[in-house]
């Protein structure tokens, strides 16, 4: 899923300074799975906003509403009946959802309550870890199912570098060396001969470097 982190209360309060009526929109998908912007987190943030303002003798009205997703028109449309009652929309969805809400409600100020970070997986309840960078040309077949672009801090295609120590990355002892993982897996799969091959320079045009991307399926268009 897409993993995001909630912005600090301080940062959110600063963004909301001029406003008294806020529509707080959660999302039932990725941000729910990483416990950042689902219904519960919407409840907690709304409570924090009310407590904080009240303590300072100020008011705030927060409407809590969680959509199925914020990346599809039909769901965002559901708030149309009452969106006019609010000065500002504070969205807890990922960056894609926040922007889509802004595109739909062009005259409304839409603010991000989260920092969207990476594509990842749940290691255990409460821990999410990066796995994919969306480079657009997947080579997982060549590296035993482990991505060198996302899991190596230097995105080396022919790693490891000289800083790999005890299976950990030189950047942080808590981070596994992506290439150690790949080598261990290639060994388990009996594919160490793949390690001897030189992977050539990457074509980054399919990644963010090539510019904002689009995917189209003509057969599905009405």
């Amino acid at each position: 899923m897409i993993v995001a982190n909630r912005k600090s209360l301080e940062e959110i309060l600063a963004m909301l300074k001029p406003y008294k009526k806020v529509l707080l929109l959660g999302c039932n998908e990725c941000v729910t799975v990483c416990a950042t912007g689902g219904e519960r987190e919407v409840g907690v943030l709304a409570s924090e906003l009310r407590l904080s303002r009240s303590k300072d003798g100020q008011e705030i009205e927060v409407k809590e509403h969680t959509l199925e997703r914020q990346c599809d028109h039909e769901y965002i449309d559901q708030v149309r009946p009452f969106v006019g009652d609010y000065e500002v929309i504070l969205s807890m969805a990922c960056g894609a959802g926040i922007q889509y809400v802004a595109e739909k409600y062009r005259t409304k100020i839409v603010l991000p309550a989260v920092n969207t970070s990476f594509l990842g997986v749940t290691l255990e309840q409460g821990v999410w870890s990066e796995r994919c960078q969306g480079c657009g040309s997947c080579i997982l077949d060549q590296t035993g199912g482990i991505c060198p672009v996302a899991r190596c801090a230097k995105s080396l295609l022919n790693g490891p570098c000289g800083g790999s120590s005890n299976g950990k990355c030189e950047v942080d002892k808590e981070i596994d060396c992506g290439w150690q993982l790949i080598i261990d897996r290639l060994k388990e799969l009996g594919q160490m001969d793949r390690y001897e091959e030189i992977i050539p320079v990457k074509d980054w045009t399919t990644s963010r470097d090539g510019g904002p991307r689009k995917r189209i399926r003509e057969d599905l268009r009405l």
């Binding site: 209360l9 519960r40 709304a46 009205e61």
Partner: protein, 117 residues
Amino acid sequence: MRLNYPTNVKIVKVPCTGRVDNLLILHAFESGVDGVYLAGCLEGECHFLRGNLRAKKRVQYVKGLLDEVGLGGARLEMYNMSSAQGQRFAEVAREMTEKIRALGPSPVKKSRVESRG
């Protein structure tokens, strides 16, 4: 045991402190209470195995939120006791009351409770 404890302590019965989630605590503070504490089973003796451990983690987390918000995490505490420890129950009630009295009333206005979607 018919022991006395301060009248300002209102009891909310739950089957296990593990039932108490973050929102419940936050909404209590929104309604204007000055302090909240959880009384759960002794660690290792939870009737539902780990409910009191979940409560402990949540209390730590919400203390942090209360600090951020400016109310102060000291207004929230977790205590552990067995259901046979009547004395301890009364003692904790007095201790928490004194603590909150020293902190003063909560600055939150009771009137805000309207707009919860």
